[in-house]
Structures are given as structure tokens and as C-alpha cells.
């Protein structure tokens, strides 16, 4: 691990692999969320499975949390080192002349996503942990759909989620293709990877945002 911190290239690889891992997780997450729009029953079943399967709970969940932590902690380390590497700053610096805004502001899009993850954990994960392990409530395979839709009743939460998805889109717009370059892939497939990145960076956050807005507009009538 100390070797990883020492070499700039190893740090980049950690960043890229943890980022790609999170991208994979996003695909899984968005697919499940879409179920909440298409089939509440399937959404309940799948959520219940995820919530009570020991492999998911005690192996995959810790790996995911570790992946997030490794990614943003490494991001902060890189950012601090990169700022220090400039030393005296320029009086005039035209970053926009040679690099895209998203690529220059990964730390800010990442920070917004991180802040969002804080809220998101509070909304769902903390609640879930308390329900299962603190209050020790019995398993109820039918509660997930209602709980999820109720979360999006307040407009403020729906809006925060949508804004976070926009920033996630920007983060992925650069990050996804960038991780291939970091892993040494720059060849005849690179234009295709870049095109795919743009589609992915729009479609996935758009789907997340759609689901949040959909539930906000279709509240459960008691």
C-alpha cells in the first residue's frame, strides 16, 4: 500500500480501477431502480434479496464501501499533490484553451457526488441498518417499494438528487474514458470508448433522475 502511495502511476491505476468498479456498480444500481418504475413486486423481491443475502450484505457491500472510500481518498491525495506541484501560481492561466471544463474540475464534480452520497447513505443505508440491526424488526419483503417512493415525496430531496445526477454525469463524461487511458488503452478502439463514455454519462444519470422525478410525480395515495 505504501508503494501505491509512492508511485504516481500506481495512484492513477487505483483511481481508474476504483472508478471503473463504481461504474459497474452504477449499472447494477440503475437497473434495480428502473424495476421500481416497471414492476413494484420485482423491485421488492430484488431489494429483499439484496438486503438479506449474506454474500451481498457482508462481502459485496463492504467491498463497495471500500471502493468508494479508496476512490475519493485517493482523489483528495492526488488533488493535494497536484496543487503542491505547481508551487507559485500563474498570474494568467488559460486552462480552457487546451482542456475541457469537466476534465479540469473532476475534484468538484466528485465532491458534489460525495456530498450526495452522504445524504443518500443517510436516506437509505442508515435507515436500513437501523431497521434491521438496531431495531431488529422482522423481515418484511413488501416494504421497499413504499419506502422508496415516499422518500421522493419532498421536492427538495428530489431536486438535490437530480442536481447530484447532473454532476455525476459530468464526472463520468471525463472519468469513464479517462480510466481506459490510465490503464494503458489508447488504440483504434479509443474513439469508440470515448463515444460510449458520452452515451453512458448521459443515459445512466438521466435514468436515475427520471426515476426520482417519476416517484415524486406519482406519490402513493393512502
Amino acid at each position: 500500500m505504501s508503494g501505491l502511495i509512492k508511485s504516481s502511476l500506481a495512484r492513477k491505476v487505483v483511481m481508474a480501477l476504483s472508478g471503473l468498479f463504481l461504474v459497474l456498480f452504477l449499472v447494477l444500481h440503475v437497473s434495480l431502480n428502473l424495476a421500481s418504475v416497471v414492476s413494484p413486486d420485482f423491485f421488492n423481491e430484488a431489494s429483499h434479496f439484496m438486503g438479506y443475502n449474506p454474500l451481498v450484505q457482508f462481502v459485496m457491500q463492504p467491498i463497495l464501501i471500500a471502493g468508494v472510500i479508496i476512490h475519493f481518498v485517493m482523489g483528495f491525495i492526488l488533488e493535494a499533490q497536484n496543487r503542491a506541484a505547481r508551487g507559485v501560481g500563474y498570474v494568467m492561466y488559460k486552462g480552457s484553451a487546451n482542456a475541457s471544463w469537466v476534465s479540469r474540475n473532476m475534484i468538484y464534480s466528485g465532491l458534489v457526488v460525495l456530498a450526495f452520497l452522504g445524504l443518500h447513505f443517510y436516506d437509505f443505508w442508515i435507515h436500513e441498518m437501523a431497521y434491521k440491526y438496531v431495531e431488529a424488526n422482522p423481515a418484511d419483503p413488501t416494504r421497499y417499494y413504499v419506502e422508496t417512493v415516499e422518500k421522493f415525496e419532498p421536492i427538495w430531496r428530489t431536486l438535490i438528487y437530480v442536481v447530484a445526477f447532473v454532476l455525476l454525469s459530468l464526472h463520468l463524461w471525463h472519468g469513464f474514458a479517462s480510466s481506459f487511458q490510465t490503464m494503458g488503452v489508447n488504440n483504434k478502439y479509443t474513439p469508440a470508448i470515448k463515444s460510449f463514455t458520452k452515451i453512458f454519462a448521459v443515459v445512466v444519470p438521466l435514468a436515475f433522475a427520471f426515476i426520482a422525478i417519476y416517484h415524486h410525480l406519482n406519490p402513493i395515495t393512502h
Partner: protein, 248 residues
Amino acid sequence: MKLHLKIWRQKDANSKGQMVDYPLNGVEEDMSFLEMLDVLNEQLISKGEEPIEFDHDCREGICGTCSLMINGRAHGPDTRITVCQLHMRSFNDGDEIVIEPWRAKAFPVIKDLIVDRTAFDRIQQAGGYISVNTSGNPVDANAIPIEKDVADQAFNAATCIGCGACVAACKNASAMLFTSAKVSQFALLPQGQVEATERVQNMVRQMDLEGFGNCTNTGACEVECPKGISLENIARMNREYLNAAVKA
């Protein structure tokens, strides 16, 4: 034309510098940027002031010595050229031009606009060589056939002139483009294979030791590089590095 120059002045490595305003009249479009500075310096000398120190040597875009940040861009507003190839026709009468040295912790200012780029030399020394027994070596290098496109790629990597614009332009002051060009020019050729593993590891280690930043793939270096060194070289260096890590 008449210009309003704002130029970084710094007495020596230990002094604190500052921007100083210099109005300059009678600049002609056909002057190169460095000739424009020569004109200013002659005026300063005739007034008994100290001339502005800036690096230059060949003045034809091949040595990589000239190094100025002009209006926030490495080697000025045009692409694929060095400062010595930049001409005043790229500017307009009445323009304000901000001139600063390369900024990187690994490139400390020596005086005014001159920075110390020996960090690049040390990266090169760490692995930018091949071991060939030159005494009584009967094998001519040209006797080894190399595919044309591979030879071209190696040659393109070798056109890096070590100017440091990549570091200057990068928001992270990363030296990855330079180092990757120097790794690639050997990695692509059979003569470079003997030391391949240690080369990339040693050069990257030296690059880190010098205090350059981490690449975040913004691509600024590639845009500002006067020789058009491509990001493909950085990907190649990353591959070489990953391969070396697997082998070791």
C-alpha cells in the same frame, strides 16, 4: 504596433518576484516574439536598467530552450510552435501581453523568466539510454529491420525537445508527456528491450522524486506540445509500467 507588456521579474532563485509593466512602441508584425523582447531589452540597457533574462538558443524551434507562458498559454496563443517561432502578427496593436516563466515546483525560477529544467535531465539519466557495446561492435543498428509504422512512432516520440511546455500547461504540473515520450522512443524498438523493465520504473520514480504532479488525462499537454507528442505515449508508458510491475 504598441504593446502593454506585463513581465515577471525576479532577481534570483531566493527572491520574491513580481509582475512589472513595460509599455513598448514600434513593434513590427514580422518580428518574432523573442526579437520583440530583444528590442525591449535594448531599451532597458540603454536606460541603464537590467535587461529581462529569458531562455533561448536555436531560435528555430528545435532546441527546446525558449520557454514562456504568454497570456496564460505555454509558448503563447498558437499551437505546434515554440516561442521563438511565434510572431507578433499573432497579436494586435494595443494588446496587453502577460509573460511569465514556466510554473512548477520541479522547475524553480533561476532569474526572471528562466527556470531550472535539470529535473528533465535527471529523468532522462534515470533510464533514457540503451546499453550497446560500441567498441568493436560489428552489428550495424540499421541491420535490424523495423516496421515502418513502428519506426515512425518511435521517431515521433523522439521528436520531444524537452521544452517543458507540457508541464507548464498541465493544471497538475505533471511531466507524464515528456517522460512517456522518452520511455516510448526506446520501448518501441528492439534495442530498447533489454532495459525495458527498469527503464520505465526508474524514470517514473525519478519523475515523482522531482515533485511533478499526477496526470489526470486532461490532455492539455498534447495540445500545447510544440512537437505534437500524443497522449498515446502516456498510455504506452502506463502499459510498460503495469507490465514491469507484473514481471517484478
